[in-house]
């Protein structure tokens, strides 16, 4: 329905019928404009849902944490060495949960960062086009496996295997959960690092090859430094995945709050504590109920720190071509 704009209609003077049609066109145009504005409004509302989600998260976490901190002083929260929120003699030392989170993340990163980086270098600098196109999707499948299944695997397959090497290893331990978590994170680290390395312009590599460098020398001395900001953000993403991972730890690490950095022991992390509490039946508004929001807020702040660090790294080391 192509409608000619009114001023394009030829003729010296418009008769009655012409004016009526003009008015009709104007009305159609107006209706069309109204519809367009309405649609834009609806689309804007849909886009705003994400902002509302963030506001909702912050509002809920802060609201419940405020009532939590009216019972427990922030000083105790940060310095107490015990975490027994559901006992009569309640202690709220977040460091106990932090130690579990840090230990399990370190084990996972000790697996994911070296393996992920080597895989990324291999895929980007050594593998042929065909190899890459086959192996990368296969690797991405790893990140599609639900984490509960990794937890199952850690508890019932990896732990018995590890117990053959370390006979004194308890049935629930941070080590096997962390190792499996590391494998789970490999695709994130490898895939993002590889993207960053592939974005390095070919001319840099060619310059390096022209100077007689080998592939390995080019990869280490030219490509990795040039892609550093991208690789760093891949690491940061890996770290925040590790810190926020829940089910592997809840299933295989034992949910036992002790202040210890030994991966051979069972431990509770911030996330697995939240699961543990949610599995029980806590009344809404009780101190135990508020504890999980305080724990959630700590987790949120922790990941926020990593995100900010990643943002800073990207800005500081970005190479523009």
């Amino acid at each position: 329905m192509a409608i000619a704009p009114p001023d394009a209609i030829p003729g010296p003077a418009l008769d009655q019928r012409g004016e009526a049609r003009l008015a009709e066109y104007a009305a159609i145009k107006k209706a069309r404009q109204r519809r367009e504005t309405l649609i834009e409004g609806v689309l804007l509302a849909a886009a705003s849902v994400s902002v509302l989600t963030t506001l909702g998260i912050v509002y809920i976490l802060v609201r419940e944490s405020i009532s939590f901190f009216s019972h427990v002083s922030i000083w105790d929260f940060l310095t107490d060495t015990q975490w027994t929120p559901l006992f009569d003699d309640a202690h709220f030392g977040i460091w106990v949960l932090m130690s579990g989170t840090i230990t399990s993340s370190l084990v996972a990163l000790a697996v994911a960062i070296p393996l992920g980086t080597v895989i990324a270098i291999y895929l980007s600098e050594f593998a042929g086009h065909k190899t890459r196109e086959t192996l990368k999707p296969l690797l991405e499948l790893l990140s599609g496996v639900p984490t509960i299944i990794y937890g199952f695997f850690a508890l019932l397959v990896v732990t018995p295997l590890l117990q053959k090497i370390f006979p004194e290893l308890p049935g629930f331990n941070v080590l096997s959960a962390g190792l499996v978590m590391g494998v789970m994170i490999i695709p994130y680290v490898a895939s993002l690092s590889e993207d960053a390395m592939r974005a390095v312009p070919m001319s840099l590599r060619e310059g390096s090859y022209a100077m007689g460098s080998t592939r390995f020398q080019t990869a280490v001395n030219v490509v990795v430094p040039a892609a550093f900001s991208g690789i760093a953000s891949a690491y940061i993403l890996g770290i925040s995945r590790a810190v926020g991972e829940t089910m592997i730890l809840a299933v295989a690490a034992g949910m036992q709050p002790t202040l210890s950095f030994n991966p051979m022991e069972p431990a509770a992390t911030i996330t697995s504590f939240i699961v543990q509490v949610a599995l029980g039946d806590l009344p809404h508004g009780s101190i135990g109920y508020q504890t999980i929001f305080a724990a959630g807020l700590s987790l949120m702040l922790l990941t926020l720190c990593f995100n900010l660090a990643g943002h800073w790294l990207r800005k500081r080391y970005r190479e523009a071509y």
Binding site: A47, I60, P114, F126, L139, P146, G151, V183, A190, T246
Partner: protein, 311 residues
């Protein structure tokens, strides 16, 4: 050139070649660790679980006796929760992406939305569970229902759908839009008749990946306090309630308590009796098969997409 120097240079070259080979092998080794884990996981589950995969396993409710326990309530629950998630996340995600890609002006509010979406993609899933517990369960009083779970997972996968849709829209060349405008199409007509049609495979890829993530999510659903022992199905529309004698409405099922596959697996895994672990392996096998095939479809779609479309 004397022979000695040539030999020395050859030695250096040989050494460098050896290094290259070594690193390539190391890369393949690292890759095989990852892929071997995937294979081991899959095979272990298949070997332990397949003997339990009989028709009864799909048609029985969970039970205290491991041999009689089944996954009826959990697979039905998973499908119903996914239905709610899809109905919320797909339209919202596509609409949001269209706004950001086609309508948004360059101002601070657009920047806020964009940064926000990037950040939301990095928020741990358990935080969404806390949001749902505080907001949907206790503030909006939606209860620990299928609706709550579906909405929570929808918020969780929204960034995935939005990002995929935006990428699909961005890959459509500008001249397609200009041609449509030149024929007098309004902005919405361009979006509806052209952009949405050409970006459908890309959007579909994002939606499938999002849904496969949602179907395996456990933590947020545990956090909202979903029960783990459910031996009944949500009321089908029109089904008679024996206690009240009333027929269930078309949407009564969204208010029903529920369980989903990952929670059933978690429940069975955390029991000491190894016969329950067989059940967990069987259910996990079904779930892995579902998510892996969804992912495989998405990867195939993306691959085909990259190959076929040449503007």
């Amino acid at each position: 050139m004397n022979a000695e120097k040539t030999l020395a240079i050859r030695a250096i070259i040989r050494k460098a070649r050896r290094y290259d080979l070594l690193v390539a092998l190391l890369g393949l080794l690292a890759l095989s660790v990852a892929i071997f884990t995937l294979a081991a996981l899959f095979i272990d589950m298949a070997v332990t679980g397949i003997p339990r995969l009989t028709g009864d396993f799909f048609l029985n409710f969970p039970s205290r006796r491991p041999a009689e326990a089944g996954i009826l309530s959990s697979w039905v629950g998973s499908i119903l929760v996914m239905t709610v998630t899809a109905f919320v996340a797909v339209p919202l995600g596509i609409a949001g992406a269209i706004y950001l890609e086609e309508y948004a002006r360059k101002n601070w509010f657009t920047d806020v939305i964009e940064i926000n979406i990037t950040n939301l993609a990095g928020v741990p899933s358990i935080i969404y569970g806390l949001l749902a517990l505080g907001l949907f369960v206790y503030t909006f009083k939606l209860g620990q229902s299928i609706l709550t779970a579906g909405l929570t997972l929808a918020l969780l996968i929204l960034p995935i759908v939005i990002t995929a849709t935006r990428e699909a829209l961005r890959s459509i060349p500008q001249h397609i839009r200009e041609a449509a405008y030149a024929c007098g199409a309004s902005q919405w007509q361009v979006v509806q008749d052209h952009l949405l049609k050409y970006s459908t495979p890309g959007i579909l890829t994002g939606v499938i990946i999002g849904m496969s993530r949602a179907i395996g999510e456990t933590a947020p659903i545990i956090t909202i306090g979903a029960l783990t022992f459910i031996a009944f199905l949500p009321p089908a529309p029109g089904q008679l309630n024996i206690e009240t004698g009333q027929a269930a409405g078309l949407f009564d099922w969204v208010w029903s308590p529920f369980t989903v596959m990952p929670i059933q697996i978690f429940n069975w895994t955390s029991r000491p009796d190894p016969r329950f672990h067989e059940n967990a392996a069987a259910a996990a096998f079904v779930l892995v098969l579902m998510t892996l095939s969804m992912n495989a479809i998405a990867i195939w779609l993306r691959y085909r997409l990259r190959k076929n479309i040449k503007w």
